[in-house]
Amino acid sequence: MWWLATFTENPPVAVLPYKTPHRRRIITERRNIMKKTYRLLFIAVMALICLAAAAPALAQSKMVVAQDTPPRMMNPHGDDSDAGLSYMANFFDGLLQRKGAQGELLPGLAVKWDHPDLLTWRFFLRKGVTFHNGNAFNAADVKFTFERLVDPEVSEFTNTGKQIESVEIIDDYTVAIKTKMPIPWFANNMHQVFIMDKESTESRDPGDVMVKPIGTGAYMLNEWVKGSYIRMKANPDYWEGAPPVDTVEVRPITESSTRFAALVSGQVDIVTGVPVELYDKIVNNPKLTVVSRPARRSIFLGIGNKPGTPTADIRVRKAMYMAINEDEIIEKIMRGHAAPAAQVPDPPTIGYNPDIERLPYNPAAARELLAEAGYADGFDITLTGPNDRYVQDAKIAEAVARYLAKVGIRVELDVKPKSVFFPEVTKGILDFYLIGWFDGTFDMGRTYFKLAHTRDEEKGMGVFNGAAFSDPDIDRLLESTADIVDPAQREKTLQALNKMAMVDKIVWIPLHYQEDLYAIQKGKGIQFQPRPDRWMVYKEISR
């Protein structure tokens, strides 16, 4: 360590080594430096080559997926967004499940269910199912699960939980759930409530429940490194049979260009949430394929009808509807990846009315209507919307503002992050806003109670009625559907309600249905059918 002493200003002479004559030292030093630098360079280049060549090979029974949203926690009730439920559907099962292109409701952990009276739902449970830790699945686990839903500390399904009056264990494999008031779509929701193991959830530390899932699902969690990857391996004792792919590694990548790069470089097999701008690049790449399906989510504009405001007049609302060129929005902004919508629910939903048609784009007629209503000079209105929630949401709002400006309506644009936008919607203080929606129950009733019903704090209705739209006819017809359980009857009444809302009252201006885009590696034999709810359920994918 003698050389350290040279850092001081005046090293003691005794510490310095024998000094060779200056000139010879210069020559040898120069030669040594050259040798050393070349050696270092050589080593560096070798190292780089070794590192580059040591590319890890993907195992054959494995699949790597890049999803656009990471899981928040491994507690199946803690996140009611589709992104979160998508992960949980692999580790857990609900009493029922949805499969297929139309999201058909099928038996899950319950083999049969019925509805003996308006308030009771009976589920007959599957026998011989075990949780990942070996515990047997029985009615006690179902009771525990539903009673857990009301606790806001661990559950975002408090709404579902609070609707339940009691859970009765009839015997080890039969459960009867009584609701506080008739809820016709109750069973339709059962694919989202995942059953947890009573014994292990109660005995474990709540922090452990948040990171280690113990369910009955097709996959078991192998490793979860937050922010990096989720590794799961197949459950050989799964009641539906072991899933086709042995190991699945999910890598959440939120940045879309990085997701694209991961796909192109071959690091991942499937990518979800392909942004519309990158569609052309992927289609032109011979190694990749795009898989698309029409999404269930419809994008629409909410308008208020407070007396005294311009939009209270239905002619004004009609004019605004006709002033927007939806086809151009789909073509230019959504790059063709959307389908025009005439209503809010999508085709598989009960209440979807195929007879409703979009009003045609007609700015001249719009201007006439405005003049008729007394607004020949137009009026001012603010359009609020999110800028980080839906596909191209901010751009759509801009386009709408521009179309309305052409018929004389001056729109002030107010786009903001979803965390600020949605609380404003729930406060009902907006005049005109952009929003998207789809209902997981495939039944329009619940959606309408939340979106169209007059705001009522006590009854908890109209929470998302952002412009406080209020119409007594709609309220009356909607409330009458609450008691109807027969699906055919529900369908008729809800369709009539839908028509009234879209054609007679123009509660919303519908825009389009989004499209879900995924990309997969060609030539790896991946069989992937996207689900309508955008969940990635790996037992349904094979390679």
Partner: protein, 321 residues
């Protein structure tokens, strides 16, 4: 010196308190966390209950004092999004950020200083002018652009290096490290280079400027006249006097990068603290945000104090009292 350090520490505490107070004021305008927690189908009643449970219905100063009181006991609240303790959530990601920043800073320091010395010796040679032009690019091109271009070249087109993530990591005690696996080291290359670019360019210019000034000094001329070998003159005599501002700069950058390497972490999906801060801001996760800001303030203040002390150690003419 002792009183100086104590004074700086007290100033640091004041800064942390002011930063956290700021956060609380801003939270009033950031939206409603209760809404995010109850799910889309909740009723007004349920939203109100959750708001009470979280203590959000109380006036700001009450919330703030409660927060400080809990913080003094080590409880920084639970994340609204993942329902786990906020401090643990942040510290869990600390090793990832620390490793990335360390590698980036070392890379920037050694490359920047060496290139700076090289460039200062013959400032108007073609090669050196070229390097200076590149450094201008390093300073002005934004980090996300450098990152994306590197990913496109090395990961997408050449397929040499991985595009995202940390690779295989090994847990050593509580520290999850990427240094012990080939995969981990490979994943470190692109993000570290991206992060290092700006610092490298700055250090290069700083070193060059310092060296140019020092090389015209009298004692350097004496050293040349004495016939000392060039290496001794440049490194032992000239560079050491330039090192003071360079080391100061590096120390400050180290602190700042650890706290705010958000952009690079987002592009490379690096599971570090910066990434967590960004997602928390989007999701309105207030406990995590305020805890993070306080932690970031603490890190930067500590880095500043350490650098100032180091400055005094290196340069004995500096005295603190």
């Amino acid at each position: 010196m002792g009183t100086y350090i104590l004074r700086r520490l007290i100033q640091g505490v004041v800064v942390i308190l002011v930063a956290s107070m700021f956060c609380f004021v801003i939270f009033q305008y950031m939206g409603d966390p209760a809404l995010n927690m109850v799910g889309q189908y909740a009723s007004f009643e349920e939203i109100r209950e959750v708001r009470e449970m979280l203590g959000l219905d109380q006036p700001i100063y009450v919330q703030y004092l409660k927060f400080i009181w809990n913080a003094l006991h080590g409880n920084f609240g639970k994340s609204y999004v993942t329902r786990v303790p906020a401090l643990g959530l942040i510290l869990e990601r600390f090793p990832a950020t620390f490793e990335l920043v360390t590698v980036a800073v070392l890379l920037a320091f050694f490359t920047g200083v060496s290139l700076g010395v090289l460039v200062s010796l013959k400032p108007y040679a073609m090669r050196n002018r070229f390097i200076m032009a590149l450094s201008l690019g390093g300073v002005s091109i934004p980090t996300f652009l450098i990152g994306i271009v590197l990913i496109m070249i090395f990961a997408a087109y050449l397929g040499l290096l991985p595009a995202f993530g940390r690779g295989d990591t090994i847990q050593v005690g509580f520290w999850r490290t990427g240094f012990l696996t080939i995969s981990g080291l490979r994943h470190l290359i692109l993000p570290a280079v991206t992060l290092a670019m700006y610092q490298l360019a700055v250090l290069l210019r700083l070193t060059r400027a310092g060296m140019r000034e020092v090389l015209t000094e009298e004692y350097i001329k004496t050293a040349w006249a004495k016939g000392l070998p060039p290496r001794k003159v440049i490194f032992k005599h000239a560079l050491r006097n330039v090192m003071i501002p360079v080391v100061t700069m590096t120390g400050l950058q180290f602190g700042e990068l650890i706290a705010f390497s958000i952009v690079t972490e987002t592009i490379f999906q690096w599971p570090g603290m910066g990434n967590l801060l960004l997602t928390s801001i989007y999701e309105g996760d207030q406990p995590v945000i305020v805890t993070y800001i306080m932690l970031a303030a603490l890190i930067i203040i500590t880095a500043n104090i350490v650098v100032d002390i180091l400055y005094a150690v290196i340069n004995p003419r500096i005295r603190y009292d």
